[in-house]
């Protein structure tokens, strides 16, 4: 399997791409984001542009992210999420958690501190998948498969052609629904098993995020969760 430092490096690059997209999107949409706030936030657009530059820096020099830069980016994104509440979403939370863990990697002076930071990161990523899967089993529409069709039928989160297919073929919608639930809820089991099984699980999860990005237009989730998946593989590889 691939070496742990290499995996963390790739995770830092992917997270950097995510940070760049977050910064650029915030900078472009800033007048409207700011208009929803209780009052103006001067300098917000420039701060978002600086964040985008920092993210681009991580893509070119991932060691910058691992040596503390990730913590700076995590704090910046956290600030934007709080200041512009409720403009943030799950991808921001995942990106903050991943960046905090990655940023601590080369910064920690003792090996045991690095190990604690890495495992906190892995537990957070694992929790995100497990909780998402289990929460879906509590919603009748998810269990019946109807929720997938309805979400894709939304003008904001779905393409009309794909929505039509899922509305017409409820069996397919149910199969997709339970595949997603099973995949997400099984994360802790695969983390414990490790090895090739975890890599196969991660590949399936990546495909799921690709599908969500393409069909629902949620590209930021792809960057944030892909970085999380790479971290999961890297941390498991340290054992």
């Amino acid at each position: 399997m691939t070496s742990v430092p290499y995996l963390f490096g790739v995770a830092a690059r992917v997270a950097g791409a995510g940070v760049t997209v977050v910064g650029l999107e915030l900078a472009v949409a800033w007048p409207k984001v700011e208009a929803w706030r209780r009052g103006p936030l001067p300098g917000g657009r420039w701060a978002a542009l600086a964040l985008a530059c920092l993210g681009a820096g991580f893509v070119i020099f991932p060691e910058l992210c691992l040596a503390g830069g990730g913590i700076v980016a995590a704090v910046a994104i956290f600030y934007f999420v709080v200041a512009c509440e409720p403009a943030g979403d799950g991808s921001d939370v995942m990106l903050v958690l991943v960046l905090a863990g990655l940023g601590a990697s080369d910064l920690m002076p003792f090996g045991w501190m690095r190990t604690v930071a890495w495992w906190c990161l892995a537990v957070n990523v694992c929790l995100a998948y497990w909780w998402s899967g289990v929460a879906k089993t509590r919603v009748p529409a998810w269990r019946a498969g109807r929720q997938v069709a309805l979400a894709l039928n939304s003008p904001r989160y779905g393409s009309p052609a794909v929505a039509r297919e899922f509305l017409d073929h409820q069996g397919a919608a149910k199969a997709v629904s339970w595949s997603v639930i099973g995949l997400e809820a099984a994360c802790p089991a695969f983390l414990v098993i490790g090895g090739p099984a975890l890599w196969v699980w991660a590949a399936c999860a990546l495909l799921m995020h690709l599908g969500i990005a393409l069909m629902m237009g949620l590209g930021r989730f792809l960057w944030a969760f892909s970085a999380g998946l790479l971290c999961l593989l890297a941390v498991r590889g340290t054992i």
Binding site: L26, K32, P86, P109, M113, L127, V139
Partner: protein, 193 residues
Amino acid sequence: MIRLLGAAVLGVLLAVYAAYTALAVLACVGPVDRWLRAHRIGRRPIRSLLPFWGLFAQQFGMFDLDVRCRAVPADADGGPGGEPGDWTALTRGRWRPWSFLWRPWHRPDQTGQVLALRILQGGGQSAAEALRHTPGYARIMRRARIELGAGGDTDADDPIEFQIVLSRGHWAAVPPKVVFSSSTSTAAAGERP
């Protein structure tokens, strides 16, 4: 000495990250989750500071809300005077084939939808008068004023109204429905746009 100080600062950061992770895990347990929701840090419940991945299992309808606004001309006495202007959409980002790469309007749209949802959860049309004094209502009015070029001042007497519209999707047989109107005198809730 500086190295020791640096190690101490990093130790504190690590302790915060570890405590945050531990709380996030413990929040899966029902009684802990309820305790975290009941206790606050400042104005916020502690639970709101932790990740809530259950949102990925949200019910249909949450993100099918749209907000629109228009100017209502006022006469010298401050009452309605003349025909209102056209509706202007405050949430207009739709799925496009390139959305997976670039979707900057997603954030402002999401803000509008969540604020609209809070208005509906706060009682909707039946509690319209009470809702006028909530922060969410003021934020929608501020956004509407800026969109209509009237500045961000949230003076309640300014002649602007907004509506929350619920859509049922691409292939729905029922048309979008107005579920909240800030104006009690003109548009009624339940109106088909």
